[in-house]
């Protein structure tokens, strides 16, 4: 189904790419760099049409930063009422796939902290460009910004931007509550003038998310009993990382980088953007201020001693990422999997490996028949031999010849049976040679098939990688369960407050800390008491095992993917070794066989010659 642009040119709609609240986006069949957005409320109102036209006419330089529409589209080629627009098809991922640590591992493996700082700077530059051109984004949110693998970005959904053209202001009218500044929470957004100060809130929140590993500025541990969903926290200016807040409503979440891990100038920008008073016109930092401070930060990063993937501001007290790894056991910046060659770790070559390992075999070599020249030469040799034992003159006498021929024939037949036996021996020899060599190769062949089966298994319930992750999960769950069982609640006879104090001073506080060796080494803990305490721990272990349910699926667990890749690499390396050994065995077999083959050829030639001569003599009168 074609649609037509303002020049009458036809564009063929392809499959649907996305469907949103406002309209549906389609691929364009012959123009993959573009797509078409058809609005649900088509045909469009004159106001909407005018706004879209204004967007099409914005300066070309803006197209690098904004995915501005190219043209309106119409159902027929003679114009009429527009139903949508042609937009550039922007490749890349939504910005939340970058700041969220879990999706960053999937889509931006190489992104380290420096990359995040750079993207934040590019984002600020984009907003600077917008505001310099009198455009206000209005509906800043996590799905309007597409980031490319190199950290550059482009703003999409431009039809909701607020622009001014020929004295007419086209409003934004929409907003996303999680991204709406405090002064606009609960306020009707229709026909409301949005200002760069409003945008500055969204920009600050995006930069915060990029620099603080996806933690939201207004999310934290509640300090009061009041339920504080995100938009309520925003409305109360409850910035969780504020070191000196007016009202103590939230404290920073446990596994978050400390606010102090950033330079003071940058911290001030965040405070200006989020504290009460930021709602006043021009109060929040402008994009240029962010560009400056982020450039300073980018130039003052240091690599942490513990991991090459950990980068942080050089003025921070210790590496924030190591701290989170130790306390929360979460690695926010894993070392990218460069060690395992990409090809070996992906799934497609795995299938090829399975095929190769299953196809390898060790076949016996068959004796090939000797060539014609060899046969003739043997016959000639035989003739010579026969001539040599009969004196020439006797051969001339016909009747002697006849008698001699008869006895000669008998002799030849004897020799033929001998030659047949020799050939038969060869056949045995060949079998023995094959079996000997096959016995060398057989264990490798067996391992090759087993390895192929294991490679096929990666990802299935009985693979080593899954077993590893399941066992880790169970172990961690057991640890968490036992860490919740406090000794002071144990009610073990003989475990009074003085002994509890002793335990506590040796850091034995929970069931997890209890081990036989630790207890026996403590003063005042005899065999009986130790046994009772261990029994208490065992009871809780049994409770755990009874109620533990393993995770139903962990395909998307990052530790599983890493374990699976390691397993794949190991199996492929082993497979390569096996194929090498099998090939070596095949070479050794082939060379022994060559020797045997040459001997066989000679023996066969003699046999064949004998057979021919016998037939010749039998045919004579």
């Amino acid at each position: 189904m074609p649609v037509f642009d303002e020049t009458g040119r036809a564009w063929d709609l392809g499959p649907k790419i996305a469907a949103g609240g406002e309209g549906v986006v389609y691929q364009l069949l012959h123009n993959p760099e573009y797509c078409a957005k058809v609005y649900h409320a088509a045909p469009l109102s004159s106001l909407k049409e005018a706004k879209l036209r204004a967007l099409c006419e914005l300066p070309k330089e803006l197209r690098e930063t904004l995915a501005l529409p190219l043209s309106l589209i119409f159902p027929q080629n003679y114009g009429g009422q527009a139903i949508g627009v042609i937009l550039p098809f922007v490749k890349g991922h939504d910005i939340f796939e970058l700041y969220n640590p879990q999706s960053r591992r999937e889509h931006f493996q190489k992104a380290d902290f420096a990359f995040l700082v750079e993207t934040a700077r590019n984002l600020s530059i984009a907003f600077k460009v917008l505001h310099e051109n009198g455009i206000v984004m209005g509906d800043v949110n996590e799905q309007n910004i597409k980031v490319r693998p190199d950290g550059t970005l482009r703003l999409i959904d431009c039809d909701s931007f607020q622009i001014e053209r020929s004295g007419q202001r086209y409003h934004c009218n929409v907003g996303t509550p999680l991204w709406t500044p405090p002064e606009l929470q609960g306020v009707s957004l229709a026909e409301l003038e949005r200002t760069p100060n409003h945008d500055a809130f969204g920009l600050a929140q995006l930069i915060f998310l990029l620099l603080f590993a996806g933690r939201y500025p207004f999310a934290g541990r509640p300090l009061t009993n009041e339920a504080l969903p995100p938009e309520a926290a925003i409305a109360k200016f409850a910035f969780a990382f504020d070191p000196t807040p007016q009202e103590r409503l939230l404290e920073p979440p446990p596994a978050a980088p400390p606010f102090k891990s950033l330079p003071p100038a940058l911290r001030n920008l965040f405070l200006r953007a989020f504290r009460r008073g930021s709602q006043l016109p021009g109060a929040r930092p402008s994009p240029s201020e962010w560009v400056t401070e982020l450039r300073v930060l980018a130039g003052s990063l240091r690599q942490c001693a513990a991991s090459s993937a950990h980068l942080h501001w050089k003025g921070s007290e210790g590496c924030p990422w190591c701290h989170i790894l130790q306390t929360a056991r979460v690695e926010l910046f894993p070392v990218p999997l460069g060690a395992i060659p990409k090809q070996e770790a992906s799934l497609e070559p795995l299938n090829a490996w399975v095929a190769r390992l299953l196809a390898v075999s060790f076949e016996p070599i068959q004796f090939g028949l000797p060539s014609a020249t060899l046969q003739t030469a043997a016959v000639n040799a035989l003739e010579l031999e026969l001539k040599s034992w009969m004196p020439g003159f006797l051969r001339q006498i016909p009747f002697v010849q006849r008698n001699l021929n008869a006895s000669h024939l008998v002799g030849l037949k004897t020799r033929l049976s001998q030659a047949s036996q020799t050939l038969g021996h060869f056949s045995n020899q060949a079998s023995t040679l094959y079996l000997q060599n096959f016995a060398h190769a057989q264990p490798f062949l067996k391992s090759a098939h087993e390895t192929a089966a294991k490679i096929k298994n990666i990802g299935s319930p009985n693979s080593k990688a899954i077993a590893q992750v399941m066992s880790d999960h169970r172990e961690q769950a057991l640890q968490r369960h036992l860490e919740r069982q406090l000794l002071y609640r144990a009610q073990v006879v003989g475990l009074g407050q003085s002994r509890l104090a002793t335990l506590q001073s040796y850091h034995v506080i929970t069931a997890w800390d209890v081990t036989e060796s630790t207890l026996m080494a403590l003063p005042g803990f005899g065999l009986t008491l130790t046994r009772k305490i261990l029994q208490w721990r065992r009871l809780h272990e049994q409770n755990f095992h009874r109620s533990y349910r393993p995770p139903t699926s962990i395909q998307n667990d990052p530790s599983f993917t890493a374990a699976a890749q390691r397993e794949a690499a190991e199996l492929i390396a082993y497979g390569k070794l096996l194929l090498k050994r099998i090939s070596e065995a095949q070479t050794a077999y082939a060379s022994s066989f060559d020797t045997l083959q040459a001997a066989y050829h000679n023996a066969y030639a003699r046999w064949s010659a004998l057979e021919t001569r016998i037939r010749q003599l039998s045919a004579m009168p």
Partner: protein
């Protein structure tokens, strides 16, 4: 290095007890998922009737519907990082078929139909599972949108005379009134809608499923959860129309 502060207190019977201060427990961080993915969560507990009356076509259609639900949610990147699903079933007993997890980490469980209909107990259990998860969110400093409880039944509750039923009604109504819960009740086949409506919040009575259109029902649930997790908790959420699967229009 975290430290523990202990204090000796005089208890009720004169016995000395040791009280742990500072968050009342040693502050270990249990939930790695909440640190790895700090997006605000939208927890949804699906409470499913798997009593013997559901056997045959109904339970098969339900299994397919749940599978489709998990698949559709997983397909949307943002929703799959915000929506968390738990499944509670009730039949011969009340089971937590799946504790809260992201849709991408969940394989559709396969349900078999058996037993009576302890609906009250199931709702109470689902509520406590929700409360535990909310506590984990609070401890991890992760925000959450208003939780959803979605109940599907084809009969009448067999525990209306028990304490569970009264507790269930109280929890649902209070939760809705305080805007801490969003409850949807759906009746299938011969379900007793009058009794179900006693459980449902007054301003949102139960809806009846057309035939066994679980597919459409779960697609609606996915779409609703998507818009709930992208917009504001508490304020009015625009839900898609239920005409695709409900006999009565909302």
């Amino acid at each position: 290095m975290s430290c523990v502060i202990l204090r000796l207190e005089s208890g009720s019977r004169g016995a000395l007890t040791i009280k742990l201060l500072m968050d009342e427990q040693i502050p270990f961080f249990h939930n790695v998922q909440l640190a790895d993915n700090p997006e605000p969560r939208c927890p949804c507990v699906v409470v499913l009737d798997v009593s013997s009356s559901m056997s045959g076509d109904a339970i098969e259609a339900l299994n397919r519907g749940v599978g489709q639900f998990i698949q559709e949610l997983s397909a949307d990147s943002l929703a799959s990082r915000r929506v968390e699903v738990a499944i509670v079933t009730f039949g011969s007993s009340v089971q937590l078929a799946a504790d809260f997890t992201s849709p991408r980490s969940l394989i559709a469980p396969h349900f078999a139909a058996d037993g009576a209909t302890p609906m009250g107990e199931a709702v109470v259990r689902a509520y406590s599972v929700l409360e535990s998860r909310k506590e984990e969110y609070r401890r991890a400093g992760v925000s959450y949108f208003r939780p959803w409880m979605f109940l599907l039944t084809d009969g009448e509750p067999t525990d209306t005379h028990s304490k569970h039923w009264k507790d269930a009604i109280r929890l649902v109504h209070e939760g809705e009134a305080n805007k801490r819960l969003l409850f949807f009740g759906v009746a299938v086949n011969d379900a007793d809608q009058a009794v179900l409506n006693a459980l449902c919040p007054p301003k949102r009575p139960s809806l009846k499923l057309k035939g066994l259109h679980f597919g459409e029902l779960f697609s609606w649930l996915t779409a609703s959860l998507k818009s709930a997790s992208a917009s504001a908790p508490g304020s009015a959420i625009k839900l898609p129309p239920t005409s695709g699967w409900a006999s009565i229009e909302v």
